[in-house]
């Protein structure tokens, strides 16, 4: 029964997501296409965070940094008239991987609260850096005049095409993420989370594995940043604000850390909730705050824990 649910739910989710453009067109409600696309982009970011957070036990409070680096990589190239999508996205992935390598190399030496805070500190530095660079709009940010160009492959100005591209990347990220956590590499990461001493004693030094996971997560989040800047057609240092990092963490926790798909559920739940509550009352944060507290207290395994019954 469990295994059947485990197979059916993701498949049903995929079918539903794939049907959104059609349904939106039939109902003449294209807004939902935008909404779901934005949510999926954040889902990719949350999913990348979960690789290190849920599986690796590395509580990064600065994951929004890579969202920003990815967005700036695209935006800065576009600023200088380079609109080639392959180049832009490669830079987005490469630059965020590099930044993750630098941040990770220092941060992973620490643990616990120190790790939380040092990742936060690095993201704050990048945030203030973004605000200070006048050439790229400083705090105002800048508009992405032309979306990333993929001649012959896809036109991002076509809302449906862009939607399916994001969906495809999400599915690919889910698939590769699952492969990664099931691999030997993933085993070491998970083992290091549950018992570092034992991992060391069986001959694995967790540091390089953790660092590699940190870099992979940063790179995937950088790609989400490239998608986000194309979605919004705008970028600002605000993408790197510490509250964004907090929101990404929320998506992970709310959705559930024990499965690859959990953060995707979390992204949908949080962003839809935010949209609905803010339409209902200006004091929506008064409701959202306690809801978050309650979800932490009572939904120990996240929303995914509700959907999938416990394995054992």
């Amino acid at each position: 029964m469990n295994s059947r649910i485990r197979a059916i739910v993701p498949a049903a989710g995929l079918v539903l997501l794939a049907a959104v453009p059609l349904a939106a067109a039939l109902l003449d409600q294209p807004f939902y296409l935008d909404l779901v696309r934005r949510i999926m982009i954040f889902a990719i970011a949350a999913l990348s965070l979960n690789l290190i957070l849920g599986y690796g036990g590395m509580i990064s409070f600065g994951h929004a940094a890579y969202l920003g680096v990815g967005a700036y990589a695209v935006g800065v190239l576009a600023h200088y008239g380079i609109n080639d999508g392959y180049l832009q996205w490669a830079l987005a992935i490469g630059a965020s991987a590099l930044v993750a390598l630098a941040i990770g190399a220092i941060s992973i030496r620490t643990s616990g609260v120190y790790f939380i805070m040092i990742t936060l500190a690095f993201t704050q530095m990048l945030y203030y850096l973004g605000i200070s660079i006048e050439e790229y709009g400083g705090d105002d940010g800048m508009r992405l005049q032309v979306k990333s160009q993929f001649p012959g492959l896809i036109d991002l100005n076509d809302a449906n095409a862009f939607y399916y591209l994001v969906l495809a990347i999400l599915v690919l990220a889910l698939f590769l993420g699952q492969r990664l956590v099931d691999s030997r590499f993933g085993m070491v990461i998970r083992a290091a989370k549950s018992n570092e001493v034992r991992t060391r004693s069986i001959g694995f030094s967790p540091y390089p594995y953790r660092l590699a996971a940190f870099v992979i997560a940063g790179a995937v989040c950088g790609l989400a940043g490239a998608l986000l800047v194309n979605h919004t057609a705008y970028l600002t240092p605000e993408f790197m604000n510490w509250t964004r990092s907090g929101e990404l963490m929320f998506m992970v926790i709310l959705g559930g850390m024990e499965s690859i798909a959990g953060p995707v559920l979390g992204a949908f739940a949080l962003l839809l909730l935010e949209d609905a509550l803010s339409g209902w009352t200006q004091h929506w944060q008064l409701v959202l705050g306690p809801l978050l507290v309650l979800s932490v207290l009572f939904l120990k395994r996240g929303l995914a824990g509700l959907v999938f019954a416990k394995n054992e």
């Binding site: 997501l17 959104v20 935008d34 400083g138 919004t232 057609a233 705008y234 949908f268 839809l272 949209d275």
Partner: protein, 393 residues
């Protein structure tokens, strides 16, 4: 909003799609008003929304005989959220006009979204130079000002008074630098030093110590919102108020005065509007606002009030035929409505050509807070500096 709640509960997307059918053929004017309603910055949004409601009261909630529906959206000071709210208004609620927006960065993300969809964007605060210049659009109008106008006016005041050796301070972000650049466009005297502080900083003691050591003749600052409140208090507390005259833009207004009271006294600001501006529309707006909400209105509100009246003037001109975009553009360009700032006209880039005044915070009526009072007119029919970059004629 029942539809929306339902859509949330369902994690499945289909439910969200089924929940709201296509909008019915409309017989009303729909306006999406985007501002910041939540979080600490929500205070500005509150004044804006109140003023929109007051304008609707004054119009009897009808424009050219059509019912008016205003849908409010909260941008949370985030450009991407602002864009999403705008998308929702355009595509789901199918509004005819999007209005509001406090922040330049939110505006730069939202305005193209709206105008590309062929709808009107009526800015009621943010006036970034991009939209005044190269990115100007026939569907974009603003009832506020271009960011540089106000500091240009203050620069002129100080230039005309022959003040030299000015010490300049602003937060280290785009608007801060814009303000200083605007100031320097009309102030040509010596600048002792230009200091940029951290955005959101609340303690200025270190900077004030530096300032005193440089012994300037006057000080020009731009500290909006909470930063301004901290700055003014500390400026007074450090005993600098009597020593170095302080000139500011967007630092002292009717939102910050109740928090600083006497620490604002004697403060100079430049602005296109003031509660004591003598014209019937403004006097009605101010007195009705005070009666309805128990507070002094602020310029953010006056602009938003004007924004609704501007839309009304266009809807009336085309007799409610909202499909007549050309007619509405032509009507808006005339600025034919009773503005709280008095009669003004539109420049080719759809930014106002208007007067700017020197304001001073003076003692209010007994038992009340200080009030802003117009001292003199600085600019008459001032045009912003970017209109020449705009392709529209």
């Amino acid at each position: 909003m029942g539809n929306k709640t339902l859509s949330t509960v369902a994690i499945g997307i289909a439910a969200a799609l089924l929940a709201s059918g296509p909008a019915l053929a409309q017989q009303k004017v729909k306006i999406g008003f985007i501002t910041t309603l939540s979080g600490p910055q929500g205070v500005v949004g509150e004044y804006m929304r109140n003023s929109v409601e007051l304008a609707l009261d004054h119009l009897g909630r009808k424009m050219a005989g059509l019912d008016v529906e205003v849908i409010y959206g909260d941008d949370q000071v985030k450009p991407d959220v602002g864009k999403q709210v705008a998308d929702e208004m355009l595509k789901k609620h199918q509004v005819d006009f999007v209005a509001g927006i406090i922040w330049s960065n939110v505006m730069l993300a939202v305005a193209p979204t709206v105008t590309d969809a062929g709808k009107f964007m009526i800015g009621t605060n943010a006036g970034p130079h991009e939209l005044a210049g190269k990115q100007c659009n026939e569907l974009f109008f603003t009832t506020s000002w271009q960011n540089d106008d106000t500091p240009e006016a203050m620069g002129k005041v100080m230039q005309d008074q022959g003040i030299t050796d000015v010490y300049v301070m602003a937060p280290n972000y785009a608007a801060g630098k814009d303000m200083v650049n605007g100031f320097k466009r009309s102030y040509k005297g010596r600048i002792v030093d230009e200091v940029y502080t951290r955005l959101g900083q609340t303690d200025y003691q270190a900077e004030l110590s530096q300032l005193r050591s440089k012994n300037p003749k006057a000080v020009f600052v731009f500290y909006p919102g909470g930063m301004g409140i901290s700055f003014l208090r500390q400026y007074s507390e450090a005993g600098l108020r009597g020593q170095f005259p302080l000139y500011s833009v967007y630092t002292v207004d009717e939102i910050s005065i109740p928090a600083v009271k006497h620490a604002a006294l004697g403060q100079y600001e430049t602005r296109y509007w003031s509660p004591d501006l003598k014209n019937p529309a403004n006097q009605k707006y101010v007195s009705d606002y005070r009666r309805k909400y128990g507070k002094m209105p602020v310029f953010y509100g006056a602009q938003s009030y004007d924004g609704i009246l501007l839309i009304d003037s266009a809807v009336r001109a085309v007799k409610g035929n909202l499909a007549d975009k050309k007619g509405m553009i032509a009507a808006m360009r005339k600025a034919d409505f009773a503005s709280t700032r008095g009669k003004f006209s539109y420049n080719t880039n759809h930014f106002p050509i208007q007067n700017f005044y020197l304001l001073k915070a003076v003692t209010g009526p007994a038992g009340e807070d200080p009030v802003m009072e117009i001292q003199k007119t600085v600019f008459t029919n001032h045009r912003d500096s970017y209109a020449k970059e705009c392709a529209m004629k």
